[in-house]
Symmetry: D2
Subunit: 347 residues, 4 copies
């Protein structure tokens, strides 16, 4: 079977494996206080052009979102999120288990707007019984979003402005950050993301690492005692160097960006070819997740060889599925999939 | 520098690294639903002689303790623990963050007794204002304990009996399980631990893995929806197979037990030789953690070459330190340390 | 000023005040273990025709909703609610602070349907990654709802059936229960509410008491250790008899129903007369809360004498406001308000 | 039966009842935004000589402790308390349910010392793995303590100094504040308590009110958004004026202090007379709670007429019980009790 269902189906980039083997017998301090973590943090600060940023390494996305939320909010404060936000849908209530409400907004494509955020927040403070309601205090963006879309520079800058005017923290979930940054439509740099947000993370799990997310904190008040939060949420890896080694390897030799570009290019190829076959899309994604609508009969055939993620039933005879490329995707697998679809369609 | 401060200073057993490399390009389902996890769970059920047990893989100890506590207790229920229990001291309040009080008992050496547990629980229910106090519902034991001691078979059986009579869950934290099971003084088997407890975990992080703990659940009511809890606590690894691969490798060819025995033997050597030098011990540990009392002047000399964990100041001129052996400890390092101490003492 | 903004603007029914004075010097046990609480619970069981029900007295609505939610749900479970539900909007995130997500559904008028509940729950269990999402476990209905509407017997029965088939607890928030039961359109009895739900509460704060809500539990598993939950949530009144005395007085001589009927009748009068004046309504409420749309200019005049709750801006020149009647409303105040509106409208 | 078991066995001071009756038909805004609450807050600020303080009214002690703890601490921070502190023993884990660990210290008589607090806090920050442990951030004192003892001015001033040096909030639980302030041994004023602490509360439930505690906040950062916390914890009474009316009445005409002095005087009489009878005491309390050791046989006789709180079994034939006086205690009841004990002892 060939898996296109997600971007976490393989192990890790071979350079990481090599580095893990090479350093395996070394003895280091635990809990992220080793030199690999320090070096990786330096590399990331440099890539972000944020010399004052704090960088921490956690093992997974839900864990990271939970830890950031718990660290940033007081008990009566909530996080503004798109209704399809990972934090709202696919974390089994982790933010709520940490005591915080998701303040949910509808969006056409997973992207919040500055206007929405401003209107909601202003309405809260204008309400005479504001204290009977959860106070908005953080905005959660995923980049790319759960539907594969991205924020353009101008949009993120405007969201940032609106947040800063209103005292809202801006948190960007970059589980698939590389795949956003390296797609053709993108006009944002990593440094701009660091500049416009208060805290964000660079996803490793889906972008070449075995596991791991690098949290970058630029806002002073969010830096305070962050390691206490990490430990309390069960997110402090004993052999923390594993995270340092991985991110150090990813941020050497432009590797993070190159492997992301590989996935982006294959996704673009997939998209273009499927468009040529007149296959409709469930969302218009420029990134490594492509959401396509296929006839169920065709899907049944494809499922003999390929694994997809089911997204939604579209009508009585069609379904939407997600196809992901990643750093690990082989171009020949993409080509074979395209050929097989063409064949099944009789093109 | 040679690290004796802890048992998580190196990477992992080479067989694990080899297996990770070998399987790196394979594509598998995520979140622990791959075949490696299934096979590893089978191996563990077999080793525990517990064919009906549920086995889940999490990444670290605090995370596991937090998830188990959250899963087992209702909001008004607490967990009985020795005052030095990891859950009470070194998890930055993770159980409390999940809403639960540690019901703390003093012990001479980190080991709770059946009598203590029974007395506390009976006193709770006998109190006319019981409902004004946290209800004891789970007992947390670490095995080996934080001071290196272990429970003997008869002690664990009696604790188990007392718990079952009173409706208390018995949870055993086996972060260093192998080092307890394979020490000379031990008379318990893994199967007996599975039999006497309701839920326990087999530590990987400190016993040969890069990371990972295997939770074994034998009590039916604790099995219900456990994966929801794992996900909610940020403890469900996307590339779950990494845990399956590691535990599969550890439980092949008796590896977990052999590498544990290695650490136990070196700790015993260390202990015996230090006793011969008339060095006093801070606790009487039969396992891989040895707590010794050394003159500060001697320690200053040793610290040029070795890293220890500081435990306590004993008096104006002596300190207690922890020396750990592990699966990765080299016998020549132990020998050198012993020789250096002898030399410094002029023996 | 004459307050029509809410149903908690006065103190309490004079019979309660008399009883408080009469019993003031009596000495009783604390924490709800006095005879007044026992007698009041008996009266309520009788009124509910639920001899096996447990009855507990708490002081307020948010507190009660929080305590019930915390008692009923495991950490990964959530509560289905209409988006306008009090629990979702006006409790400053109390359910989330207790760790639970509100699973929010849109409704035309604040009323959930059996079909919605069934569809949502079935979709959850049909999803292959169900454990990544919050599990629906309780349904929260307010009766009357926040828009003044009520469930008809057939609707509640069907919701109950759907919940029982799916293992969902059905919880009814009866902060204004009397005003629902005694309105003209209602076809439900208190006994039927007890029968169809698993747990509900009879509101006292808004229906004649100084404060207090009576929780009625008919489902066995929700009865377990409920007093521990009450105490833990800060909801166990030291002088618990104050609650017993109030509910005993309300449930003597049919008082609860009679004073509710008074409010219902005055609301109906208000509604009928406003309809005659062709004043549009913001929602079609049969109960003591009436939501009317008035020209801003008219409102400005009325605000010199009356207090309303602002609900929404409807257009550039109109607003929706809430008018409440209660056990304490004077018919002459209603008549004067109607006369003043008529006068201002030149009718 | 005559109740000496607690200080919350009666209703309220008659002046409160009169005021409730007098104002019963008045219409006021809800949720503590009425004029009675404003006036009561002014009176309290004046009595505290703290014109800048914020004053809030909650309904009970556990609720207040829970709300303050939730408001003051970040998730990884805990509250230092004596092991017998109400917050640690008799709140069914309410602080933990809000996510916070009680950092427990042993005391001879319920009173923490400045030295203990300083040593614990300094040790925390000196520990190289501080972030693996709960960070101390607030100190909880009860005044009087659970054993009836009080802090002297010099002790409280020193605790305050130690807290301020270390950035710890100082919170004083004054559930029985009046009984401490008005006892003969006391040398503290209400204004000094306001000065030395950051937040404290003046107990009403046990000192003349039906219910209610007045929280006084002098530290700026604890004032922020406190009403959100109150609402979220279910502690915002709809008819908030009930609290305003009660505290206004208590703080008029020196009433709070006079009724407290009454209880203190009767407790002193009780103590002196029991000492004359050579009855031993379980703790040396100068306040309204007296803890005496009585022969079980004598207790059996007394229990035919009196209700006490059982505290502890002292030996095979003696028990410790608590006798409380309060604003409501009749001197003739105290005299009769003393006479009965004398009679039973054959004195």
């Amino acid at each position: 079977m060939i898996y296109f269902n997600s971007d976490y189906t393989e192990g890790c980039h071979p350079a990481i494996l090599a580095k893990l083997a090479e350093t395996n017998r070394e003895q280091t301090p635990g809990y992220g206080e080793d030199d690999y973590c320090k070096l990786a943090a330096d590399k990331i600060r440099e890539a972000c052009q944020a010399p004052e940023a704090d960088v921490h390494f956690l093992t997974g996305g839900t864990q990271t979102n939970m830890t950031v939320t718990a660290a940033a909010l007081k008990p009566y404060q909530g996080v503004i999120t798109a209704s399809c936000g990972h934090i709202n849908v696919h974390e089994t209530g982790a933010p709520e288990a940490a005591g915080h409400k998701c303040l949910v907004m509808e969006t056409p494509d997973g992207r919040l707007t500055a206007r929405q955020i401003a209107a909601y927040t202003d309405a809260h403070y204008a309400d005479e019984s504001a204290e009977h309601m959860v106070q908005p205090k953080m905005v959660y963006l995923s980049y790319p979003t759960e539907t594969g879309t991205i924020y353009k520079k101008e949009e993120l800058r405007e969201i940032s402005r609106v947040c800063r005017e209103r005292g809202l923290f801006l948190f960007l979930d970059g589980a698939r950050l590389g795949y956003g940054l390296m797609c053709r439509e993108n006009d944002l740099t990593l440094a701009e993301i660091a500049e416009y947000t208060d805290i964000f993370y660079i996803g490793g799990t889906k972008v070449g690492a075995l596991f791991g997310e690098a949290v970058v904190i630029t806002r002073e008040e969010l830096k305070v005692d962050f390691r206490y939060h990490i430990k309390q949420r069960g997110a402090m890896l004993a052999k923390g160097r594993l995270l340092g080694i991985q991110f150090l390897t990813l941020f050497e030799d432009n590797r993070y960006f190159e492997i992301s570009a590989h996935a982006a290019r294959l996704a673009e190829k997939l998209k273009e070819e499927l468009i040529k076959m007149n296959i409709p899309f469930y969302s218009d994604s420029p990134t490594n997740q492509q959401f396509v609508i296929l006839p169920d009969a065709l899907l049944e055939q494809l499922k003999k060889t390929y694994v997809f993620s089911h997204v939604a039933r579209v009508d009585g005879t069609h379904s939407a599925v997600r196809l992901c490329t990643s750093w690990a995707t082989r171009e020949e697998d993409v080509d074979q999939l395209l050929a097989d679809i063409r064949g099944l369609l009789g093109l």
